[in-house]
């Protein structure tokens, strides 16, 4: 799922400085699960910004709403009135939701309230980790189910670099070395021989290097 983190309040204050009526709009799916932009976080941010406005003696007014998914026209159309009444909307959705709003409401100022951070999961409550880079060309079948693109700081495809120590990554000692994990997994699967063959250059054109990506299912089009 998409994981996001709320922006620092100072940055949000700067973004909204020119506006008076501000709608704080949450999204009820991924960002809710990542504790960044659900109804609860909308309430917390609204309260924080009201405090900030009161401290700065400015006359900003904040309203709150949360839709099920900001990345669907139908859901954001359902609160069109609230959006229209606002001078600016702080979207606590991922970048997709922010852009959906901007596209649907061309004359409305739409501002991001979170930093969309990665695709991942919670390995324990409150601890979310990256698991997928959406590179467009999955190699997990070759790497024992551990992704070296998302989980190796250098995207290595042919084994761990010299910084792998005691199973951890040199870039962050709290991060597992993806290649140590791959080595251990393939060992358990009896497939260590896979690590001897050269994995050739990756086709990055399927990643963002190929330009904005698009999936079209002709069979589904209306």
């Amino acid at each position: 799922m998409i994981k996001a983190k709320q922006k620092p309040i100072a940055e949000i204050k700067t973004l909204i400085a020119p506006y008076r009526n501000i709608l704080i709009l949450g999204c009820g799916t991924c960002v809710t699960i990542s504790f960044a932009g659900g109804e609860k976080e909308v309430g917390m941010l609204a309260s924080s910004l009201r405090i900030a406005a009161a401290m700065d003696k400015n006359a900003q007014l904040f309203t709150e709403a949360t839709v099920q998914r900001q990345c669907e026209w139908e859901f954001i159309d359902a609160i069109a009135d609230q959006i229209q009444k606002a001078d600016a909307v702080i979207s606590l959705a991922c970048g997709i939701g922010v852009q959906a709003l901007a596209e649907r409401y061309p004359d409305k100022v739409i501002l991001p309230g979170v930093n969309t951070t990665f695709l991942g999961m919670a390995i324990e409550h409150g601890v979310m980790v990256e698991r997928c880079r959406a590179c467009g060309d999955c190699i997990l079948g070759l790497t024992g189910g551990v992704c070296p693109i998302a989980r190796c700081a250098k995207n290595l495809l042919n084994g761990p670099c010299g910084g792998s120590q005691r199973g951890k990554c040199e870039v962050n000692p709290e991060t597992d070395c993806a290649w140590q994990l791959i080595y251990d997994r393939l060992g358990k699967l009896g497939q260590l021989d896979r690590l001897s063959s050269l994995m050739t250059y990756k086709d990055w054109s399927k990643d963002y290097d190929g330009g904005p990506r698009k999936i079209v299912r002709e069979d589904l089009k209306l």
Binding site: T32, E39, G43, A46, S47, S48, R50, I51, M55
Partner: protein
Amino acid sequence: MTSEKRDLAPPTVEPLPPCAATCPAHTDVRGYVQAIARGDFEEAYRIAREPNPIPYICGKVCAHPCEDQCRRKDVDEPIAICALKRFATEKHDPRLGHAPRLTQAEPREEKVAIVGSGPGGLTAAHDLARMGYKVTVFEAYPRLGGTMQVGIPLYRLPRETIDLEIAPLKELGIEFVTNVRIADVDGLLSDGYRSVFIAVGSHVGAKLRLPNAELPDVWLNTEFLRRVALGEKIDLSHRNVLVLGGGNVAIDVARTAVRLGAAQVSMSFLESDETMPAHPWEIEEAKEEGILMYPSRTFKECVLDEGKLAGVKCIKVDFRGFKPDGALDIDEFVDTEHILAADLIIFSIGQGPDLSFLPKDGSIAQTKRRAIQVDPVTLATTKPGVFAGGDAVTRVGFIIDAVAAGHRAARSIDAYLRGVDPRTVQPDESEKLGAIQEKTISHIRKLEREPLPKTDAATRRATFDEVEHGYTETQAVRAALRCLTCGAGATVDTDKCIACLTCVRVCPFEVPGLERGTANVPVEQCQACGLCATECPAKAITMKLYSDDDMIQDIKRAIKRAKSDSEPAIVGFACRYCAYSGEEPKVVQARFPKNVKVIDVLCSGKVDSLYLLKAFEYGADAVFVAGCIVGECHNDKGNVHAGQRVAYVKKILDELGLNGARLEMFNTAPGECTSVVEDVIRLAAKVKELGSSPVPYPSRAGRSN
């Protein structure tokens, strides 16, 4: 539905916690116990009073079947529900009225006669009077209260307590006629009473047909208790008293005999020690008072020695109860015949109603067991307009059963008089919450039941003064805090739930799960700790007993009260389980500076991060959360969550330039309430140095958003 009916309706939360479901009057036990836990004693009284016009009496002598069903018994011991009801009545300010929020309808013309002023009669009279009827209560004895007046010994129920309940009934306009034994029910109907409720109780004791049982020194329980209750001076000094029977009344008889100076009081009965029908606590107290128990005996003869009563001839038995046909299932042991010595024998083997006043034509039918025959739903007798309830119908029951019968009769009579089928006005039987699962029980903190203060046995042998005494405030709150809040936990709004699993992960009691793609918090398992509701990122979980809006109103009020001085306003959230550490909250709070106002919570884990921010938004200059020390939380880790939230909100405050130092978490160890007082004083001093919050009060945000 008229307002008075709504007032009198049983609580509506379904399914009911076992305490309320078991209570024949469906008293919202959880409601008043929780109110005591919160320190809202008047609210506790109001809740306890609502379904029960005699709460003072019930607080002292209710048989409290609710406690037998209390789910806390599966963890350690049941909540001391009865004692807490007593506490609520003792805390109640009588100037607020006996029934603070109950209303009385416009007077109606119809007259209703109530025969008997026991708990059933009083309750029916109360309800009907509130519905506007003209009610007359006829009482055969000189004093009102029925069994409560002429049966229950004084050491259990001082008569002033009865007076406390009767006086307000008179204020409702109920007419009480004492010393009148109704002999003619039909006469009442022809006298203009449109309906009659027979609640004559069960005042006729019974003897076994033994040789010599008619001697003057062989007495009956009911007569004996009545004579004592009505003030007759009976001197039993130098008497050796043997009470035959092992029920609660037998215990009353025996303990009364002790107080009348008997040299020795013994009890003998069919049942074994283990199966003796009296309540265990009654047996315990009787034994403390020196009463000897001779269980597992059947009686053959009252024996004489030189013309005087010398005892009872007994045979030891194995009594296994009653067979389906009503006969005793019993074996006598051979060669066990012996005599229990006594010069006064009092039979207490049961009692029944005096039905001699019923019309001779049989128009009010009786059952085979010599009780009045009624429709169990409506309590209608076989004579139209005449209803009956209480012991006159059941032969033997608890006071609270009679109260429930009184309500039922009142509803039926009201319906009857309005021309409505009485069957349609009685509530459906309420569903009862199931048991708590093992794994959840294993996470529930065990807490000792608070014993009720009692006069020591030696002292009480010589007096009819009350044996039991009420809880102090501290004891009562501690006793109430043991309540598991059954059935009032979390509710999931499945439209908002996105199955993020937060509740599943944070619940200390392993309760929530997923069902059809959304979270499910089984009502019978939830311990109402509130952690899932505070942590839910989708705000899909609410608690039955309080809402975010309630809390925010509390916060606003607290700030307003704290702000009344020119000092900075400090708002605290204090966990009632620990922050006061056994002290009375108001005593501890009195030691706080005046500009500190506290919102009590049942576990600091219920303090949402949002509440902390809101307090600052609405103009608080500082906020604190007082919880237990780590490892001592009632809900496992509620205090740890609270601490983490405080740390998180402190960062937000720093980011806002409001200074995170204005928010503090205090953890109080058991027995160290001075530490929270010191912490709060220190915070107050620090805030004074920091000065007022830069958020103006009343905040513009608070007004307009």
